[in-house]
Amino acid sequence: MTFVKTSKLVKPRGGSRALPPRGGASRVTAKTGWYAVGFLTPLVIVYSVYFLFSFGVLGVVSTQRVGLTFRNAVDVGTQNFTLVASDPAFQGALLNTLLFALFSVAVSLTLGFALAMMLASGVRFRRFFYTIFLLPALIPMSLFATVFGRMLETRDGAINEGLRAIGLGFLAQDWLGDPGAAYVAVAVLITYAIGLPIMYYTTDVAQVQASVMESATLDGANVWQIYRIMLFPLLRTTHITVILSVLLGSFRAFDIIYFSTAGQPGGRTDITGTYIYKATLGLDRIGYAAAASIIVLVVALAFSIIQIIVRRKAL
């Protein structure tokens, strides 16, 4: 096993992590302060206009019964929230979102981590494998999911055809008709989308000081111990980044589900994104969809806050 030597320009991570000074004398001058204001102002304006205004509209609309033209709105108070929260289809979609998110996290922290370590260890055809694993993260997921959805066809789909061709026809499934098989299909799709976690890990593991690893090797640690006892804990900030990005990404996984299973069978693989999309298709349902969006937003924010707290503690 070889380790990439740490660049002199990169501060080491782990025990000797360089943290920004807290509370000490600030070297920020008035001039640099104005530069900062100059750079931040456009962002703040865009953020205020785009996001805050949008959130404001979303909040107002969520208390109305109104259509896409936003005309003839009828104030319904909190009725939309009550109806959304009590909808079994929404509850199922929210549960699926969390389930798929947890699965994504588990796959990223295990398979993603392991693959990244293998790639970082200088395995042959490294670039080829990088391409294989990163490609799904670089191409539009909708395209990939559409192709995958076509592969799931029971009679002529590539997956069942392939299984039959190699004598494993007994494993052929009604992928979109059987709930268990549909979950497996979604799991495969999610697993294939672990390119970004691999990238995070391979980037950060390159910053781990080679001397630390060399010391461990000299002390008699085997490869498994180096991974488990040293590298995995050393990359804990990366784990947190991966968890957050994967978790929040799961709330935006509309394209994965919509273009592959389309929520089948019977809506059992629907997630909040597909639920909200379907809700917007009816007449005067924009308020209802807005209420559903806000509930999802609150759940996602809760996850973000938990992550921030955990991250602060980890630092």
Binding site: L68, D87, R155, G177, G267, Y288
Partner: protein, 434 residues
């Protein structure tokens, strides 16, 4: 100095952007011509372009700028464009799905269509009025569509000596014969998509309970009524009796159409908007392997009479904000005239609304296609219900409940009870709640 240059550059960019966006927002007169903007999702772009060319040849002082959309996307794009003040002079309106979401931005059709409205089929005009919550006419329908229609590969039926099935028993005989002789062919295909299940359910249920869809979706009828439960069981029996395989339910999007076009399906059930399959020139232009196609209604499952839900479709409307209403009305009048219909009606997607319009003999060539078109047109002209849906309910509850019955996950009675429970939950305003 540098700041001044930067300021000038930014100013010039802003001015250019404003100028360009202004041009995009308000096409008007250029070179003495009036430009009108036409938004639609139908018919296929090549057909509309041919119709526009014919119109522009007759009206050299008007140019038509076309913007086309995919059907479901259009349901969102048009309301947003109209509410955002974007210039649209002629708007295609999906009569069932869009009338009420855009009517506030449209001029009543009686204001601009008085000259040619008497030439339009009165039933289709009335259907269009009935869809609007205030009973006003906001668009003039180009024609009518109905579903389901069952297309069949006439060559396969001929080769196997099979007749066009009229009952489930006939259908089973045909399916068994196709399966035995042509294992690569799927006997019956249709969409497994959620939204399509309503079309299938009501077509089968209305064979013995005509008007069921109007009663439930358009009125205050219960989903638990006997006719609906019987319909669910009859639909399920197609799978139990081996006429349709559950693998068909995994076909989505354009797959059933592709399989039928490739000659890999015996029967293909879809809407009359696929009547183009009956045209030999359409099949040749699109390199379809299927050589002869006929059409009929779904065979009778438990007796009764053939049923189709149909509705006026392809509404043409003029937005209130249009600055070229006279030219827009002229374009719509052309599209609904014999000259316009001659261009787009040969696609067979709509049964034209122009009273007395007859399709050219050259469009349909085989006996099967002529008989099929006649059969489909007759059924659409005498529908058992309006082709109307509560889309959010259909996508979230109804379609999934039907699929669960077909897959044996739940019983017809349980599915009906679930639909009724959700229907009355307050989440899906309908009937007198609207």
């Amino acid at each position: 100095m540098q700041m001044k240059k930067l300021g000038l550059t930014v100013g010039a960019l802003v001015a250019a952007t404003a100028l360009l966006s202004g041009c995009a927002q308000a096409p008007g007169s250029s070179d003495g011509k009036t430009e009108i903007v036409y938004w639609t999702w139908f018919p296929p772009q090549t057909t509309i372009e041919a119709a526009i060319s014919a119109f522009e040849a007759e009206n050299p002082d008007i140019t038509v700028t076309l913007k086309t959309f995919e059907g479901a996307d259009y349901q969102k794009q048009l309301p947003l464009a109209l509410s955002g003040g974007q210039q649209v002079d002629v708007a295609g309106v999906q009569i069932s799905a869009m009338t009420n979401s855009v009517k506030d931005y449209l001029d009543p059709a009686e204001d601009w269509a008085a000259d040619f409205l008497p030439n339009i089929n009165t039933t289709m005009v009335q259907q269009t009025k009935d869809i609007a919550s205030d009973g006003e006419l906001y668009s003039v329908p180009m024609g009518s569509i109905g579903s389901p229609v069952m297309y069949y590969n006439a060559t396969i039926l001929d080769e196997l000596g099979l007749s066009v099935p009229e009952t489930a028993a006939d259908w089973k005989v045909a399916v068994d014969a196709i399966s035995a002789a042509m294992p690569e062919v799927t006997p019956v295909v249709f969409l497994g998509d959620v939204y399509w299940q309503e079309e299938m359910l009501f077509a089968i249920a209305e064979q013995t309970s005509p008007g069921l869809s109007d009663d439930i979706i358009g009125g205050d009828g219960s989903w638990e009524q006997k006719g609906l439960v019987d319909g669910l069981e009859a639909y399920k029996s197609l799978f139990d009796d081996g006429i349709v395989g559950t693998d068909v339910l995994s076909l989505t999007g354009t797959r059933p159409n592709e399989l039928f076009g490739q000659g890999l399906a015996g029967f293909y059930i879809d809407g009359s908007w696929n009547n183009s399959l009956l045209s030999a020139s359409y099949r040749a232009d699109n390199n379809l392997a299927v050589t002869d196609v006929g059409a009929t209604t779904i065979p009778l499952i438990d007796g009764g009479n053939p049923s189709v839900r149909a509705l006026a479709e392809g509404g043409l409307a003029i937005p209130t904000a249009s600055e070229h209403k006279e030219e827009a009305a002229k374009f719509i009048e052309f599209m609904l005239s014999t000259a316009g219909a001659d261009v787009w009606a040969k696609d067979l997607i709509l049964v034209p609304s122009l009273t007395g319009y007859e399709l050219s003999d050259s469009v349909l060539q085989s006996d099967a296609s002529v008989a099929g078109y006649t059969s489909a047109t007759a059924a659409i002209s005498n529908p058992t219900s309006k082709r109307d849906s509560q889309q959010d309910f259909l996508n979230t509850v109804e379609g999934n409940a039907i699929l669960d019955v077909l897959r044996g996950t739940t019983t017809a009675a349980e599915a009906a009870a679930k639909m009724q429970s959700e229907w009355t939950s307050g989440r899906y305003p309908h009937g007198s709640d609207k």
